[in-house]
């Protein structure tokens, strides 16, 4: 894919289908250590070991388990092409954690891309799901928690257009500051 944000959206969609009520997305950019790390963690249905073994095989997963498709194999390929890797930890009825690492400066590493729209798309997908998005850039970090936002909203749905527009510009501004620092 042309943007890492699309991979994040794809994996988060797995979490939504796995009926997660909480999705944590963590992006760590360390320019000094030259590492980019993306973690997507959910409390959804999880996978048993047998399923977990097959989930990275594109030929088997697309046949028998439509739910996961090519998303994970392609994300792993993208990471491996950039001196990184992808690991999945999952436990049935507990949840799943997908962690991908990249060499930050690798020439084949596509940009993070439109992370703002990705986060907003996940929020809009189901207002009952809580999203915790943390973005670390060297020693600084940005954190967005829909639980906190919902508390302030006092019953106004988080999918309200004005709320969404606010969240969008909030993330956009924060990331601009983050990367500048």
């Amino acid at each position: 894919m042309k943007e890492l944000a699309l991979h994040i959206l794809d994996i988060a969609e797995n979490s939504i289908r796995a009926e997660a009520t909480e999705i944590k997305i963590t992006i760590v950019e360390d320019v000094v250590l030259d590492v980019l790390e993306i973690t997507i963690e959910d409390n959804g249905a999880g996978m048993d070991n047998e399923f977990l073994d097959r989930v990275l095989d594109p030929f088997i997963t697309t046949r028998t388990t439509r739910k996961v498709g090519l998303g994970l194999p392609l994300f792993k390929l993208a990471a491996q092409q950039c001196n990184g890797d992808l690991i999945i930890e999952s436990r049935k009825d507990i949840g799943t954690k997908v962690k991908a690492t990249f060499q930050h400066s690798h020439i084949d590493r596509v940009p993070l891309g439109n992370i703002v729209d990705t986060i907003v798309a996940i929020i809009l997908a189901d207002e009952k799901i809580d999203i915790k998005y943390k973005h670390v850039y060297n020693s600084d970090e940005f954190f967005l928690d829909t639980v906190e936002i919902k508390e302030v909203l006092k019953g106004v749905p988080i999918t309200n257009i004005d709320v969404i527009l606010w969240i969008k510009s909030h993330i956009k501004e924060a990331l601009k500051e983050l990367v500048k620092s």
């Binding site: 042309k2 020439i107 084949d108 596509v110 940009p111």
Partner: protein, 112 residues
């Protein structure tokens, strides 16, 4: 063949770097994996790639591409356009696929 003749012949959209339109074209190279392109792009090649982030300008400069063509009308990042203008390397776009572009270039030129 010059880049400006190619632009005319294929009716390419000029996105940036028009100052480089007098470059001579030596051949065509098509690939999207930047590390592979770095190793194999020949000086003077037209480089066709679907990658549109700013790294493509760096790779095109390094390999001395005569110009870049983005196929299938793909959207191009703003800083890629800025960089191509700065470096005066023609950044062109077409609605055609990479394969169709290659065929048209063959028709319009005597490139092998």
């Amino acid at each position: 063949m010059l880049v400006k003749e190619l632009i005319q012949a294929l009716d390419l959209e000029v996105i940036a770097g028009i100052e480089g339109e007098d470059r001579e074209i030596t051949g065509v190279y098509i690939s999207d994996l930047l590390s592979w392109v770095m190793a194999n792009l020949q000086a003077g090649n037209v480089w066709i790639t679907i990658q549109t982030h700013v790294n493509v300008v760096a790779v095109a400069l390094l390999g001395e591409a005569s110009c870049m063509i983005i196929p299938e009308g793909a959207e191009i990042d703003e800083n890629t356009i800025e960089k191509a203008n700065q470096e005066k390397i023609p950044l062109l776009r077409s609605k055609l696929t990479a394969y169709q572009l290659a065929l048209k270039i063959k028709e319009a030129s005597n490139l092998k």
